[in-house]
Symmetry: D2
Subunit: 176 residues, 4 copies
């Protein structure tokens, strides 16, 4: 089995997934792609730029569902390659422990995280990427921001669903 | 809403849950109940004693499914009270970060964790309990073991599905 | 040996400590005292209010040096009781792993943390306190702030040496 | 300033260091060098082989003192290059949080860690190395062991001062 050639449909038809989303918390991974210097310190954070159906700009972390019978580390690689391209060279952390858990609720305000489609629980990781990143699918660009730039109101206002909060939590974990 | 009076059936009928279990990773919490001394150091670990249908003894951690629209901390309390009784007084950790993630696969050998019913991903926590613990439901006893006793082959042989490995990981996290 | 009756002078004369401070990184603990609700979620953070020699107000975390032959958990209790009083009832976390490391340099700007007296490396912990807290020694008051209040510019401006940054890192670790 | 050309003597004369070691906890880093596969999972652990003055074999982690005005990440790189050679290419973790704290006491039995020379507190990290490792100075060899081999009694008996315990804690943190 190669993880790159599998589509979600192998595991769950779209209407079945819709039904499950009304009944079960869905397991996700959220990844903060970073560039690090020779001492391992983070120099920049990569965010995906997308344009919504309403024409507004959003910036997003790498995020996606964990599939049936898929290991967390394989899921991280699959979603990082799906969003950053096959040459991104993500360095998945050796420990499986996420730096935090983001609980996305369909009801706004229960936590800082909101997903109107579902109750999703995301395991959040910081992942250094060493290769070339190219926007894939629906992303227009991948932009790199310094940790300081990641704290500006303008940038945080462009992130949806609480991902700006998660980004701040990730930067705090990194000692930034 | 009170979390104690709700049954799983509110969210998912048994046959629907069975179907989902063949298609999606199911989110669980695993909790290691501990007694701590005045300095916060762990003095003993609580394990549930059950007798299987085949008449053999198993010892288990507190473990259970996270329900739709249920927060992780509420799920921890619900399962701890379900297994240790309403007077256990669990002290849920202030941080949501688990000490590790246990990936239970239906196929043995993929990871150290195995669950023949499903692919479950458990967020694992150590939870000090300060009150009185009484076995509930299908548990015969709750027994308390020192960290050293938790490393004996005899005890580890009585734990199933890789929970002995998870217990060792928890003790290592505690500096034992 | 009781940790409460010992003074630092037992281990190191003031001039010897001054000499060591010019030559060695000094080990510290930093503690963020918190109140938690029945689910373990943080409801408020305790900060010490002091007036400096120049008459300005500063707010501080609990912080202090680890002594020779003192365990980290004993040092945490000693400093928490020294600053919050003997009835504070701190719940030292069962795991020895700090949520972060704060590297205070005598040279400003090397890190976010600065201590003009020394190079100190602090192991940082969040510690729930369940008892009555009373200001001790040079503290005028202990004030409790909600996580949201802890993010206001006014409050952060009253914290010195980078402790405002450490407080934010602690809140991020708590999922606030 | 380059960290590789500096000797400890720049900061502290040997007799001064001896005096400080009787009075203060000394800050250390302990590093577990690992090889990882393309998914970030640990495949092997590197241990230094030394022969003691008594002719017995010991295996050791990378370990060393943090110098005055030295950042933790620089100290990690300095000690890893000192023990594994300049081509080891260590990947220092982006987060400053150690996976645990090892408290080495001069008195045996206070903790699992013992150092007859001093009270040392080590921040412990797992560090993937990607380059060529060559034994330096007093090490005869660097040997690589699978996680399973790291749990054998024979190997653990060759580690001194509690480093075998620390190695187990590191493997547990890695989910091994």
């Amino acid at each position: 089995m190669t993880y790159t050639s599998q589509s979600d449909a192998t595991w769950l038809a779209p209407d079945e997934l819709d039904a499950a989303r009304q009944r079960l918390p869905i397991l996700y991974i959220d990844a903060i792609p970073v560039r690090v210097d020779a001492q391992g310190a983070v120099t920049s954070v990569g965010l995906l730029l997308r344009v919504t159906g309403q024409g507004s700009i959003t910036r997003a972390l790498v995020s996606g569902r964990v599939l049936y019978h898929e290991r967390i580390r394989m899921s991280l690689i699959r979603h990082l390659e799906k969003d950053l391209g096959p040459l991104a060279l993500p360095r998945i952390p050796p420990s499986p422990t996420p730096f935090t858990i983001a609980e996305y609720f369909p009801t706004p305000g229960v936590t800082a995280f909101h997903d109107p489609r579902q109750h999703a629980v995301a395991l959040a990781y910081v992942v250094p990427v060493e290769g070339d990143c190219e926007p894939q699918q629906d992303a227009l660009e991948i932009n790199w921001f310094t940790p300081d730039e990641c704290r500006t109101e303008t940038l945080l206002a462009e992130m949806a669903g609480g991902q700006g909060v998660l980004l701040q939590q990730g930067l705090a974990h990194l000692g930034c």
